[in-house]
Structure formats: C-alpha cells, structure tokens
C-alpha cells in the first residue's frame, strides 16, 4: 500500500508546465488603486468620456462594497492596494499592424503555450485573440471575419471603433453593482475580447482567446463581451495560463454574453492558471463573473468549462433565460488537486415561457483539494412551462480531499419541472488495481476513469479542445488513490 501511495504522490505532484516567464519591458501603473489609477488606465487606452465615467461610478460603488465571504474557500486577506492594476508590454505607441510586427518574444511565448498564431492559425482554422497581461496582442483572421461582418478583436479596439455597441451593451448583463469583483473589474479592466456576430451570420470558425498573466504581482482584469444578433451563431473558446510565481495573483474577469432572437452562443473555457505548488504557495485567485442573457425568443447559450488550474476558483457562469423558449446549458469539469480550492457552479434564471436549462457538473478532488458545487435554479412566476435538469457528480481521489454541493432551487411557477440528481464516488484502490492487473499503468488507469467520468462534458467541447482538455486533466492528475 505504501508503494502505491508514493507513486500516487509523485503523479499528483507533477509540475506545472506553463510556468515560464517572458522577459519583456513592461509599461505599468504604480501599485495601488484610487481614482487616479482608474483615470490613468482610461487615459492610457484613450477612452471616450462615457467609459471613464462608467469606470469611475464602478470604482466609487466598489469602495462601498465588502469582499464576499460566502464562498467555501479560504485565503488570506487580499491587499487591494498592493496590486498593479495595469501592465502592458512596452512599445505600444507603434502597435503591431500585423503578426509580423509582434515582438518575436511574445510569439515565442505563445508557441510555448501551443497557441496557433500566424501560420498555425490558418492551418488550425482558428481565429485567436491573444491577451498578454493587459492588452490584446494580435488577432488573427480578422480580415476574413470582417468580410462576413463579424467583429472580433481586443476590447480596447472595439472601444475605439465601435463605441456605440460598447455603450449599449457594456454592463447590460453584469452591471458594475453586481458584486465586489465585478465592480472592481468595471473600474480597472484593461483589455479583453469583443465579438459581434451580425444578423443571420453563422460564424465560420471557432473564435479563440488565450489569456496569460506574465508580470509579477499583476492583477488581470479582462472584460469580454459577445453579442450575437438575431439568428446568428458563434462558438467561442477561451484558454488561460500563467507563469509560476510564489505570490498569489488576482484574476477578476467579467464575461457578458447577449443572444438575441434565435441566436446561439457556445462558450468553452479551458482554464489552466497556475494552481500554486504542492505546498499551496502561489497560484492564481480566479474570481470571475460570467453571465449570458438569452434576450430573444429561441435563443441559446451554452457554457462549457474545464477548470484545472488556479489556487482558488470562484466562478458561476450563468444564463438569464428571458426570451420565450430559450435554452441555457452549463457543462463543467472542475478539478482541484494539492491545496486548490474551487467554489463553482451556475445560475439558471428562468423568466420566459417554456425556457429550458441543463446543468451537468463534474467535480474532481484529489490531494488536499476542496471542490464545491454551488448552483441556483430560479423559476420566476412568468416562466410558464419552464424545465430544468441538474446533475452534480463528485469524484474523490484519495482521502484528504473534499467535495461539497450547495444546490439552491427556487420555483415560483407551478407548471415548472425541476430535477436535481447528485452523486459522490471515489476512485478506489480496487479499481486501480483491477486495471493494473490487466496491464495498464496506474496513471493510465486514473486517466481512463477520470475521462470516463467527464465524458458527458468533454463531448460538448469542440474536437481539438476536447483533446486538449483530456491531456490537461491527465497532466493535472496522473494517478492517485487513497
């Protein structure tokens, strides 16, 4: 037994692979946060008046708020005055017009991350908007998308080129008053992605963004806004990594999705922020607000997430089902290993008639990881014929980890049907041994069992992403039993 446990420890403590640092001159704001910081950021980005005012209102509101304590995660007090709120690679005055002009070191970084930029992008058929610390570096495929009227690029660019859309939709799904971190983000967000799909257009390729936190002690506050006009469709992928640091870094993003009549948005995330070392030192605090609204009839929003990184994850991608017959989906795999903590889940708010939602959550806890599912299904009085199905499964690997489930259900319409299923299981030593007796290594056995467990979620991911997610899960886990 002791031998087995040791092997398991070795597998579980496999090192983070994306922990390199790129040495590039940075252009940063001074440490700390006050109104001047907000103005500094807005000025740096040459923003119109309305946006500065919006940021300032958010900042003033944020100052009246306190950090939420209800999530089932534990961490030392964050000193918000000891964070650098803006860090951009220098030489932005002559911003790159094409990939060739991008600092080769950045390209190198992305290569290490396996991001398909440049020629890779064309081969892979993926349009990538890469956000490095706070600014969007390069966007591939932009011209091809532009022909179809699809706008895809950095948030900053959109502010310059399409201020009307930004003004109309920014904060319309997640208002700055929503929560502590959303308010903070609204005040200091530095960049992010913007995506607009015009009426009736089916976006011909997967749109993809990679985020990376490079600078030390930098908070990353990106803002993503996706608008799908009537009858349009888009599949959007988001991947995240960060270098290894022994201090914690804060990531507080806001994502807003708007789907109008008959539109569909599919949003997939593979999150692999640095989780901290095996002692629980360092790692990203990932406090994210993601929400979509099915504004029109028959609209559909689907969230799929594979969360393997971050020291702490606090995230509830949600859907407001406003349009009649609209559909909300949430498929999630969340893995916590070593000292990672995750409090994640979703909210499905049924407002329109015959709205439907599906929630499939798969939590995996290994090492000393703590994994909580927190979900809310709310059916308002107006939501005649609403239906929800939720399935929350927890898988335990070893005997020092924990799994918790906090489902909230609130139904105000008698015709609604809400189903909730939950299960907890443990990868047993017997299962591992059975596989080994048939010739499989411990590592392959655990991967096989975990992948089998996550199948329902993986099949929601676009093909290449599903493969990446499986590999990632393998790297993050590799073996274990208790």
């Amino acid at each position: 037994m002791s031998t087995a446990t040791e092997t398991i420890e070795q597998f579980v403590t496999k090192e983070y692979q994306h922990g390199f640092v790129t040495d590039i001159e940075m252009d940063s704001a001074p440490r700390g946060l006050d109104e001047d910081t907000v103005r500094f950021i807005s000025k740096k980005k040459n923003e119109p008046e309305f946006l500065l005012n919006w940021r300032l209102k958010a900042f003033r509101h944020w100052k009246t708020m306190v950090e939420p304590k209800w999530p089932n995660v534990h961490y030392p007090e964050i000193d918000f005055q000891n964070i650098i709120y803006y860090a951009a690679p220098k030489k932005r005055a002559d911003a790159p017009k094409s990939l060739d002009e991008v600092d080769p070191k950045l390209i190198e970084t992305y290569k290490k991350l396996g991001i398909p930029l440049g020629e890779h992008a064309k081969l892979a058929g993926v349009a990538v908007d890469a956000v490095f610390d706070s600014v969007s570096v390069a966007t591939t495929f932009k011209s091809k998308l532009a022909e179809m009227g699809v706008i895809f690029g950095s948030f900053s660019e959109a502010v310059q080129n399409h201020p009307d859309l930004i003004e109309k939709y920014l904060g319309s799904v997640v208002p700055y008053t929503d929560n502590f971190y959303a308010a903070l983000n609204s005040a200091v967000f530095s960049d992010g992605s913007f995506c607009y799909i015009p009426k009736g257009v089916r976006c011909p390729m997967e749109l993809s963004t990679y985020f990376r936190i490079n600078a030390k002690d930098t908070g990353q506050f990106e803002r993503t806004l996706i608008i799908a006009e009537e009858g349009s469709y888009v599949s959007y992928l988001e991947g995240c990594t960060a270098p290894m640091r022994d201090t914690n870094q804060l990531h507080a993003a806001v994502v807003e999705l708007v789907a109008l009549d008959n539109a569909e948005i599919k949003y997939s995330t593979v999150q692999n922020w640095y989780p901290g070392d095996e002692q629980g030192r360092g790692g990203i605090y990932n406090f994210v607000t993601k929400r979509g609204i099915c504004k029109g009839i028959n609209a559909k929003i689907s969230w799929t997430q594979v969360e393997t990184g971050s020291a702490i994850t606090w995230k509830y991608p949600s859907v407001i089902l406003k349009g009649d017959n609209s559909i909300g989906e949430f498929y999630s795999v969340a893995l916590t290993n070593n000292y990672q903590q995750a409090d994640t889940g979703t909210k499905m708010i049924h407002i329109g008639r015959n709205t439907r939602s599906t929630v499939v959550s798969k939590g995996i806890s290994a090492g000393r990881g703590q994994n909580s599912y927190r979900g809310e299904v709310k059916v308002l009085k107006s939501a005649e014929g609403a239906r929800n199905f939720s399935q929350c499964d927890s898988l335990l690997i070893g005997n020092k980890c924990g799994a918790h489930t906090f489902p909230y259900i609130e139904v105000k319409n008698k015709s609604a049907m809400v189903e909730h299923e939950a299960s907890t299981s443990k990868i047993g030593e017997d299962q591992i041994f059975y596989c080994r007796q048939r010739g499989l290594s411990t590592q392959d056995a655990v991967n096989m069992i975990v992948n089998g467990y996550c199948k329902d979620v993986f099949k929601q991911l676009p093909m290449e992403f599903a493969v990446e997610a499986q590999k990632l899960l393998g790297v993050s886990l590799e073996g274990s039993v208790g």
Partner: protein, 254 residues
C-alpha cells in the same frame, strides 16, 4: 513456468502464508483447495502484486524472472492473469475501450503492433462465442450493473482475449449457477494450451468436475498440507477438510 519457493507473507502483522512451495509447468492445471481463511486468496493476490501484503520470506520465479520484483502491470504484461473473485465496477469506462487498452498494453510489451478498432472488434467477436457472452455487455461500463454470473464470464472472456501464460482463477465458481458454471468451465478448458498453465482456486469440488486438474493442493493455515491428483478433490468432497487438517497438525506435515 511458476516456481514458488518457501513463500511466506503477512498482512497487518499477521502471518497468513507460512512457507509455500509450488511448481507449475507449462500445460498443467493445478487446483488449490482449502477451508475458509486458509490463505488461498492471499496467495492469488500476492502472485498478482497486491500491495497490502508483506512478503516475509521466500521467492517466486516466473519464467526465470523474480515475479515479486515486478509491478502489478508488469506481471500482467508478462502474462500473469487473475480472474478476480469479486470483479470491481468501473463506472464511465466503456468495457470495449478498457479491453482494447489492456490488450494493446500487453501486445506492446511483447513487441507486437497495437490492434486498431476493426481488428480488435473482430477478435472480440471471435472470443465472445467461447463464453456465450452478449455483446451488449461490452458496450456498457466495465462490470457496471452486471449480474454475478456476467461478471465472472466477463473475467474469463478477458482471459480469452489477453491469452495469459498463467491464469489464476480465484473462486471463479462462487456465485455461479450450474449452467453458468458449465459455460465458464468450458471456456477455461478451451483456453488450455500446452504452453500455458492454470491455477484454479476453489472451495468446492464441483468446479473440478468440469476443469480437471493435474494436481490438487490442500492449503491449510498458510501451508500446503497435502498434494495429490484429482481423486484428492473427490475425497475432500466426501470427507470434508477435518480429517486432513487434524492429521496435518498432528503429524506436522507441511
């Protein structure tokens, strides 16, 4: 093929095996019988590398290699197979997928090319007939929701697929009705070849009506106290274990 020399082992400080000697040659079928708690299953578990047992003495050679030095998966790839007494369920893992991965591991270690899905399916269909196994079982998660008999048949089916050199059957007859027992035993017999061997662990003689052993060993209190041919099994059936175990104590046989 298999040489067990003076093997002793303990679990949680308690001595279970107290010096086992056993030699199995290619083509042979050996049966190990004995009352509950005599150490039969422990012996099987140790041979396949279960880690909660502590080896306190002795040696096991498998085709000249020190078996106890190998990891469980290495033993499996060398051709040691255990048909489990209680096969575990592995939810979410498709049986076909599992078997293909297992078979290809074994093939890889033999330097053979891996089978693709088409060839694998062909092989599966052929071997399934031996066990009269319903193919729908193979599209379900490993052992999940299988009846006791289906689980046991699935074990022997895996044996048919992996073609081990040494197959250890741990109480494969327990929980089987007479028809299932016949099918399983016929399957085992059909898999018998002159270059492989079988070690059948059983509590009752009835399995040996179908699987005829070359040698029968009686295990008691961690020792093999008697070895004979199949007539020994019949004698045990008639007279129980008492006459032999008492005798063993008095005469100090080992």
């Amino acid at each position: 093929m298999l040489e067990i020399k003076n093997l002793s082992a303990a679990v949680e400080g308690k001595q279970i095996l107290k010096g086992i000697d056993l030699t199995i040659r290619p083509g042979e079928v050996h049966a190990i019988m004995g009352p509950n708690g005599s150490g039969k299953s422990t012996l099987a578990q140790i041979l396949v590398g279960r880690e909660e047992y502590e080896i306190t003495g002795g040696q096991v050679l498998f085709n000249g290699k020190d078996l106890l030095d190998l990891d469980p998966e290495e033993r499996a790839r060398e051709g040691v197979f255990l048909a489990f007494q209680y096969p575990v369920e592995i939810p979410g893992v498709n049986t076909m997928y599992f078997l293909k991965a297992a078979l290809n591991e074994v093939r890889k270690s033999k330097g053979q090319p891996e089978l693709d899905a088409v060839d694998f399916l062909k092989l599966v269909k052929e071997r399934m007939k031996i066990l009269e196994l319903d193919q729908s079982l193979l599209n379900r998660p490993v052992n999940e929701g299988f009846s006791g008999g289906e689980k046991k048949r699935n074990e022997i089916f895996q044996m048919a697929l992996l073609e081990p050199k040494l197959a250890i059957l741990d109480e494969t007859d327990s929980g089987l009705d007479i028809d299932a027992l016949r099918i399983v035993a016929q399957g085992v017999n059909r898999l018998k070849k002159k270059d492989n061997a079988q070690l059948v662990i059983t509590h009752y003689q009835r399995l040996l009506d179908y699987i005829v052993p070359d040698q029968v060993h009686v295990l008691h209190d961690g020792r093999i106290i008697r070895t004979g041919d199949k007539s020994l099994a019949l004698e045990l059936e008639q007279r129980g274990y008492d006459w032999i175990t008492d005798g063993g104590k008095k005469s100090g046989l080992n």
